[in-house]
Amino acid sequence: MKRISTIVIGAGQAGLAMSHCLSARGITHVVIERGEVANSWRKERWDSLRLLTPNWQSRLPGFSWSGPDPNGFMSMPEVIRYFGDYAAASKAPVEASTNVLSVSAEGGGYRLSTDRGDWLCDNLVIATGACNIANVPAQASALPADIRQLTPFRYRGPGQLHEGGVLIVGASATGVQLADEIRAAGHDVTLAAGEHIRMPRHYRGRDIQWWMEMAGIHAAAVEDVDDVERARRVPSLQLVGSSERRFLDLNALRERGVEVVGRLAGIRDGRALFSGALANHSTLSDLKMNRLLAALDDWAERSGQPDLLPAERFDPTGISPAPRLSCDLSRGEIRTVIWATGFRPDYSWLHLPVFDAKGRLNHRGGHVAPGLYVLGLPFMRRRNSALIDGVGSDAQALADHIDRTRGRRAA
C-alpha cells in the first residue's frame, strides 16, 4: 500500500492540466492512467477525426500551440503528440497501464485499488472524462441479427463497412461527420435526426469558436444560466474540424445525397420507425442558431469589432415534404447501423454514495465530496469545461482548493 497526498485518475487533457497545477503548488501526486497519455484519443476515435476547436484554442495551464497553423484543427496523431509534449513539459508523474478497479472511502481519505497495487490518498481527482461509454438505446436489441451495429468507438472509417446502406442514428457532431464521410465513400446513408444544434463553422470571416470565446459564451459560468442541468444536456454542435471551413448541417448532407429522417423512435416488427417531429426539431435548431448569431452580431457591434464580413443569415433547414417514417430492416437496404447517440461516463469503479437517482455523479463545480473532485465534465463550472481550452481554469480552481485544505484533513 502506497500513500500519497493526491491522486489524479486519467492522463488526458483534464488529468494533465490538473497535474501541472498540482506541481505548480508543490502538491505531491500521481496520475493513474489505464493506457498511455491521451489514451482515449489513441484508442477511441475514428481515423479522420480532427478537433472541433482550432489549434490556437488548445491552451492548457503552462502550455499552448506553437505550430505553424494556428487556425488549423489537430488530427488525432497531432492531438496525441500535443498531449505527450504537455506531459513531458509538465513532468507529469504518470503511472501508465494501470487500471483502477475500485475507489472507496478510508481513514478520512480514499483507497484506490488498481491492478498494480493499492494507494491511499487525501485527495482524489476524477479526470476520466464524460465519454467512456457509447450510449446505445435499448431498442438496439430489436435489430435483425444480420445488421451490423457499430458505436463511434469501434468505427474507424468507411473501409471497414459492409457494402450497402448505413443508418446513422443521431445528428450531432459525430453523426453528421460520419454521415458525410460514409456517403462520400459511396454508401446510401440515412441519418436519423432528433434535437440537434446547427452551427456554421465559419461566420463573418471568423471561426465560430473565436466568436464563442470572444463574446463570452465559452466562459459563461454555471451561475449565468437559468437551468444548468439542461445546459449540461445540450448535444454537441454540428461541427467538423475542417480547414475548408465546411458548414456541415443537414442541408449540406442532403445536398450530398444523405437521406435525413426523424429521430429513431422505435423498432417494431422488423421496421425502424422514425419520428414525425423532424420539421419541429429542424425549426427549433434554426431558431436557436439564429438567436445565437443575432447575439454574436450584437456583441460585435457593441464591442466595435474590426474587419468582420457583413452579418449573414442562412437558409432554413430544408426537409423533404414527406420524410420517411419507417424503413423495412428485413429487405437488406440497411446493412449497418451506427449509434451516434452520445456518450456517458463510466463510474462503475467508484464505490461511494455520490450519485443521483439517474446514476449521474453529484458535484458542485467539480466538488464531489471532501477531498474528492471531478474535472472535464460538460458545463462543470463553465460552458467550455469539457473543452481542452476550458479545463485549465477549472483545474486551477480545484488545485487552489486542494492547496488551501492541505493539512486540514487528516489522512
Binding site: 417531429a277 427549433l284 437517482a357
Partner: protein
C-alpha cells in the same frame, strides 16, 4: 414610455414550476393515468364519458363528467351526429398545442391577444375500407397553421410555436409510436 404590464394569459406557470420542483423530489407522484369510457349508442355513434384519473399518488374524481360523442358523416352512410374520431384527434392536437402555446407564452412573459390553430389531416379512406394494403388507415400528413396576435416579434412567436410542439403530449403521441394493448374484459 414603457409601462411594465404583467403578462396574463390566464396560465398559472408559478404553480407548474412548483410542480416541477415537487416531482424532482417525488418522481412517482408524476405518474398519471387518464381514462375514457366509451359506450356504443347506435350505428357508428358512440359516447365517451371522461371523469376520474389517477395522479399525485391517488385517484381523482372531477366535479362533472365530460362527454365526447363521435359518429361518421352522411357520405359514409352514417347519421352524422358528431365528429369522426380522426377529427377528434386533430382537435386534440390543436388543443394541446394551443394550451401549450399559452403556457409557454406566459412563462416567457409574452401577452397573447388571440391565437387560433387551423388543423388539417389528409386521409385516403381506401385504407380503412381495406382496399389497398399499401395505404395506411391513419393520416398520411397533418398540417397545423397558427394565427397568433401577441406582443412579440415574429421570431419569438415562431419559437413559442416550436416549443409548444416540443412539450406537447398529443404531438408526441402522433409523431412517435405508442404501444397499444386492446383486450376483451
Amino acid at each position: 414610455m414603457n409601462i411594465a404590464v404583467k403578462t396574463d394569459n390566464g396560465v398559472n406557470t408559478e404553480a407548474l414550476m412548483g410542480a416541477r420542483g415537487a416531482f424532482e423530489q417525488m418522481p412517482q407522484a408524476a405518474a398519471f393515468t387518464f381514462r375514457s369510457a366509451c359506450d356504443w349508442i347506435q350505428g357508428t355513434q358512440n359516447r365517451n364519458a371522461i371523469n376520474g384519473y389517477f395522479g399525485l399518488g391517488q385517484e381523482h374524481a372531477r366535479k362533472q363528467t365530460f362527454t365526447i360523442d363521435s359518429d361518421h358523416p352522411e357520405v359514409f352512410a352514417a347519421a352524422d351526429k358528431a365528429p369522426t374520431p380522426p377529427e377528434i384527434v386533430l382537435a386534440a392536437l390543436a388543443s394541446c398545442l394551443t394550451g401549450g402555446l399559452a403556457s409557454v407564452a406566459q412563462h416567457r412573459g409574452i401577452q397573447l391577444h388571440s391565437a387560433r390553430a387551423i388543423v388539417e389531416g389528409d386521409i385516403d379512406v381506401r385504407g380503412i375500407l381495406g382496399m389497398d394494403p399499401d395505404i395506411r388507415n391513419g393520416f398520411s400528413a397533418i398540417r397545423v397553421t397558427f394565427e397568433i396576435d401577441a406582443d412579440a416579434s415574429r421570431e419569438d412567436i415562431e419559437a413559442l410555436v416550436a416549443q409548444s410542439q416540443k412539450r406537447s403530449a398529443v404531438f408526441d403521441i402522433l409523431t412517435n409510436p405508442t404501444s397499444v394493448a386492446v383486450a376483451v374484459a
